[in-house]
Symmetry: C2
Subunit: 186 residues, 2 copies
């Protein structure tokens, strides 16, 4: 399963692609940060984020796009830009017929570190360990994007929200879900 | 000048197109509300909003898209969806090379009713009067979208935020800005 994880933001939008095999082994495919300068007009920033994500989707062809769920309660100063970036990221994915999944920050931290209130340093260290990297991906937005992708692959495709309300699994995804269930039982 | 006004929202996204001549006379071209059901997956709602706006842009070919500026402080419960819808609307416009302008709710109310704290009923009544309609457009999201479009045309293209930081006016827009200035002096 190839997952594009997105840590949405206008100034720094973390994007990470990982391949996760049924044995839960995760391999880094791509990680970067799409940046737009705050002095740019808002709509131009939104377009750059959208185009950056479109390029990644077309180049790496993930099976699913996982985003951090944005809450209005957090960081009121930046939350509007975060929500606008996440809206565009969702649009780019869903417009291509890709499944989109949302995970809360604590789900992501718990999946990667085993602890829902882990700090950024712990998340970065665990992402590096999981992917066999020499050092935590930097900046934190890049590490967070990878953590979101890993979280999604490990939590399984049941977390995918689909228009029909069903699980929206392809045959390959169903096979993977079964394999995942099996590996959890062990 | 043809303006598409957008009152962004996921459940109800008001969209209104008006033509405004240099003599400030405003003519209704189109008004509707793009609706998406709350039970639909978020990314599918975002796609439907984006496609709905794309259709309007391609059918009515506005010169500019004006949106209500969203504030995180207002309506915390719905503000994330509003921001996601506005992000997609901005993307659709800017991706087509159209100018995008943002106006605050009080700017819109002041432009249309002369009073920045006007209520929805007053805004609807003035929109109907300005456009020569028999009754206020309904629902309020439709009236608000038209009010945003009228506000933008009347405030003049100086309100357009452009990537370059300049006024980003086409020759036609510059001519119109001059005409607007002249009419204000009278």
């Amino acid at each position: 399963m190839r997952v594009l994880g997105v840590d949405p933001g206008l100034t720094r939008c973390g994007v990470g692609v990982v391949d996760v095999a049924p044995g839960r082994k995760a391999v880094l495919v791509h990680v970067s940060v799409i940046r737009t300068p705050p002095e740019l007009a808002l709509e131009e920033r939104v377009v750059r984020i959208g185009r950056g994500i479109a390029e990644l989707l077309d180049e790496h062809r993930p099976d699913v796009v996982a985003l951090e769920r944005v809450f209005a309660q957090h960081n009121v100063r930046t939350v509007m830009g975060t929500a606008q970036a996440s809206g565009v990221a969702m649009y780019m994915a869903a417009e291509r017929g890709l499944a989109v999944a949302l995970h809360t920050p604590s789900e992501v931290k718990a999946a990667v570190t085993g602890y829902g209130a882990a700090d950024k340093k712990q998340v970065g260290a665990m992402v590096a360990r999981i992917l066999g990297l020499d050092a935590p991906p930097s900046p934190a937005d890049a590490a967070d994007a990878l953590a979101i992708a890993i979280c999604h692959a490990w939590r399984g495709p049941a977390a995918i929200a689909t228009p029909s309300g069903g699980t929206g699994l392809t045959p390959a995804q169903r096979a993977w879900a079964e394999a995942e269930k099996g590996s959890r039982r062990r």
